[in-house]
């Protein structure tokens, strides 16, 4: 029986150089995956400062553990797992530390590309309505439990497949699908009164 060969990690060269002490190689990895991890952490925490601090921790942890990275998964999957674990731990601690009201968390209005009107000819009235909808959607997302918000962030916002998510979260594909389905139903229910036909 032949073992199916895995496609080579596109980051192999950078990883090897970083493991040998080339800090610029690790910088390149940060720049390559920074935006994706920023998106993951920000949509989970809804807090820009916490996102920044967590990202510093995630990349520091990855850098410290780089020598232990054996290539059993791609570098991206590996660092994504670190990000998921640290973010979930942080959220658990944040809940225990304070009873944050949803209003204490930053509105993502300023940073949410869904709210930016890049087309000058867009209908301002429609844009305002869409902005309000996105705000309601953000509020509904915050009400999901951490594991449910995580799968929505990874699947719907980051565009990962069920298989990829299952690998990162070390769960079965079936679990991921049902968690996602439940989360969608929760969001649907939360947005019931905010939806208008024109959307």
């Amino acid at each position: 029986m032949f073992r199916q060969s895995r496609p080579p990690d596109p980051d192999q060269d950078l990883i090897t150089r970083a493991q040998q002490g080339d800090t610029r190689a690790f910088d390149a990895l940060i720049l390559k995956y920074g935006d994706k991890l920023f998106g993951l952490v920000y949509h989970m925490t809804s807090h820009k400062e916490d996102t920044h601090d967590l990202l510093q921790e995630i990349f520091a942890r990855a850098y410290q553990s780089l020598s232990k990275f054996r290539g059993n998964s791609t570098f991206y999957t590996w660092i994504y797992q670190i990000a998921v674990n640290l973010t979930l731990n942080f959220l658990k601690k944040r809940k225990r530390r304070t009873t944050l009201s949803l209003n204490d968390l930053e509105s993502s209005v300023q940073l949410d590309p869904a709210l930016i009107d890049s087309a000058h000819e867009a209908n301002p009235e429609r844009q305002t309505a869409l902005n309000e909808l996105q705000i309601k959607l953000n509020e509904a997302m915050k009400k999901l439990s951490d594991p449910h918000r995580m799968v929505v962030t990874m699947f719907d916002i980051q565009g990962m497949s069920h298989v990829e998510i299952a690998k990162v979260l070390k769960a079965s594909e079936g679990t991921i699908r049902s968690r996602l389905h439940y989360a969608h139903l929760q969001l649907q229910s939360a947005l019931q009164d905010s939806w208008e036909e024109r959307f």
């Binding site: 800090t23 910088d27 940060i30 720049l31 920074g34 935006d35 920023f38 998106g39 920000y42 949509h43 920044h52 990202l55 510093q56 990349f59 520091a60 850098y63 940073l111 949410d112 590309p113 869904a114 909808l133 996105q134 959607l137 929505v152 719907d156 916002i157 980051q158 565009g159 969608h184 139903l185 969001l187 649907q188 229910s189 947005l191 019931q192 939806w195 208008e196 036909e197 959307f199």
Partner: protein
């Protein structure tokens, strides 16, 4: 009316292009290197100390046990010497202390109408209406 799942998913997908503002990652890298450097300095001092001590202790051979006992005895003796004891004090004659607390006079504060921090700026005194 309820949105369909597809409509919700489409709204969520709009967030996919979100990224931090320009210049963020340059600042991030600077901070990241600063933290790594700090950690490297702290970590290298500590691990150098530990590795030096370990290699010295290991090179002692059987006599390391005698050294170990001696160090423990010295630590106990130092601890004994440094432990504070109750000290006998002379009974000093007590004298009654008389004092009176006088509240400090209130400083007449002025209220500035505008943000003008110049020392010569006059503010309003007395009653302020808000």
């Amino acid at each position: 009316m309820k949105p369909s799942i597809e409509q919700i998913v489409n709204q969520l997908a709009l967030k996919r292009e979100g990224r931090p503002e320009e210049g963020y990652w340059q600042d991030f890298l600077c901070e990241f290197h600063h933290r790594q450097r700090k950690q490297a300095v702290t970590g290298s001092r500590y691990s150098a100390m530990i590795s030096q001590f370990s290699s010295w202790f290991g090179s002692l051979g059987p006599s390391k046990w005698a050294y170990g006992t001696g160090v423990a005895y010295a630590a106990l003796t130092v601890g004994f010497i440094l432990t504070p004891r109750s000290v006998e004090r002379e009974n000093l004659p007590s004298s009654p202390v008389k004092y009176q607390v006088v509240p400090a006079p209130g400083l007449p504060l002025e209220q500035l109408d505008r943000l003008d921090l110049s020392p010569s700026t006059q503010g309003n005194i007395g009653e302020q209406i808000f």
